[in-house]
């Protein structure tokens, strides 16, 4: 975990600071479900009815913004709303860098970091990417 990243995260929003309390507890969790020891926060994608529905009938997950294992993870519907593409009309960032995510037809999610296993929502896929990154920074494809 990058000390610098954690320190820089300290100045973030109230949501992010609240998330810091959770950051140390879930290390080595798979982040693929509630078994990671983190109590799902309000607005978790499991219950994301606040974000509206897209054309396939899946609820668009609500926005989130938290610090997980020292990394800031953010998710929100993409600019312009759900455009029906396979990104699910949703954008996820880790420390400000885009994590490419994709929504499966059944409403589960994958990312470019965890491409062969599915997660319940964008928050879970972002947390799994944080675990897998082990402090590394996302980069645009070379």
């Amino acid at each position: 975990m990058s000390r610098l990243t954690r320190r820089s995260a300290l100045g973030l929003t109230a949501t992010a600071v609240a998330g810091l309390g959770l950051a140390g507890t879930a290390y080595a969790a798979t982040a693929s479900g509630p078994a990671n020891g983190v109590v799902p926060a309000a607005g978790d994608g499991h219950t994301g009815h606040t974000g509206g529905m897209d054309h396939t009938g899946h609820a668009t997950p609500a926005p989130f913004d938290e610090v997980y294992q020292g990394r800031r993870i953010e998710g929100a519907p993409a600019q312009g709303g759900a455009h029906g593409g396979h990104h699910g009309g949703y954008q996820v960032r880790i420390d400000g860098k885009e994590l490419h995510v994709m929504r499966n037809g059944d409403g589960t999610w994958i990312s470019v970091i965890n491409h062969y296993e599915t997660f319940a929502n964008p928050r879970a896929v972002a947390r799994a990417a944080v675990v897998e990154l082990q402090g590394a920074t996302l980069v645009p494809l070379a």
Binding site: H86, N104, V112, L138
Partner: protein, 275 residues
């Protein structure tokens, strides 16, 4: 004629030739072009968009063509080389000879997942990860960490017993077809699980960065051939007129001159050492 062999049976000379051909393609840049191609498809293949390489009926013919092209690149370096296959139902532990220092090297260290031995270890200076999605330029693995068990022979047999090649909606949600169970989005999960079991780059969109990618897919390809043998009356599906996916006689990107029909008989291109 190319004969693809079980990696566990390769002689030390065969291993050395395969590894040397890989390192040569890495050096001249051809290897990384394959990684780029694979990632471009895996990023764009969506359940409700045009899909060619993944989560679609053409998952198997697309990867067959992709592997043939890669094998030909290897053979342009050393004509004696063929793609070995990794039977993960048999060689299913991190102590298998596959992961020894004279072949692919082993699992990564815990601190950063870095593979520390073998010809593809970063310290050897011959295997930089150039096509990457994060800052790490070294090969990583975490054998058995993402999921503890590789698929078993019984699980493979249960999938080979399925009689229909694929079915609507022709994506990761198809519930009754051989293709989606082999790919792993439904059922016992064969192909996807192996990517996760290896971990590191193998779990990402740039999975061909790990040379084991080719040996894994050579085995998936062999399972397709075995399924065809077992179900000679079961055709590739869909036959025609299906939106967003590649029908039997439609061409596949990026080649645009090859169809699933062209890929149905692997024996035109290579054979396997055993049925």
């Amino acid at each position: 004629m190319t004969v693809r062999k079980n990696q566990a049976t390769l002689t030390s000379d065969e291993k050395k030739r395969f590894v040397n051909a890989l390192l040569t393609l890495k050096r001249n840049g051809k290897y990384d072009a394959f990684v780029t191609t694979h990632n471009a498809f895996i990023m764009s293949d969506g359940d409700d968009t045009d899909r060619v390489g993944h989560r679609s009926p053409s998952f198997l013919p697309w990867h067959r063509r992709f592997l043939i092209e890669f094998e030909q690149a290897l053979q342009s370096v050393d004509s004696t080389v063929a793609l070995p296959y990794w039977d993960w139902t048999a060689d299913r532990t991190a102590t298998s000879s596959l992961w020894a220092a004279d072949f692919l090297g082993g699992t990564g260290r815990s601190r950063d997942g870095q593979v520390m031995d073998g010809p593809f270890a970063s310290s050897g200076g011959q295997w930089a990860i150039n096509v990457r999605v994060d800052g790490r330029n070294y090969l990583r693995r975490a054998l058995g960490a993402g999921v503890p068990q590789l698929p078993t022979k019984a699980e493979v047999d249960s999938v080979l017993a399925m009689t229909t090649y694929d079915e609507a909606p022709w994506n990761s949600q198809s519930t009754g077809g051989f293709r989606n169970h082999l790919e792993g989005w439904r059922g016992v999960n064969l192909h996807n699980r192996v990517h996760v079991w290896v971990g590191g780059q193998m779990g990402t969109g740039v999975s061909p960065n790990d040379p084991v990618f080719w040996m894994h897919h050579a085995f998936v390809d062999k399972l397709w051939a075995q399924w065809q043998e077992r179900h000679p009356a079961s055709p590739y599906l869909p036959a025609a007129g299906t939106a967003n996916v590649v029908d039997l006689r439609e061409t596949m990107r990026p080649w645009n001159n090859v169809t699933p029909a062209d890929m149905l008989d692997h024996k035109k291109f290579y054979t396997f050492d055993a049925a």
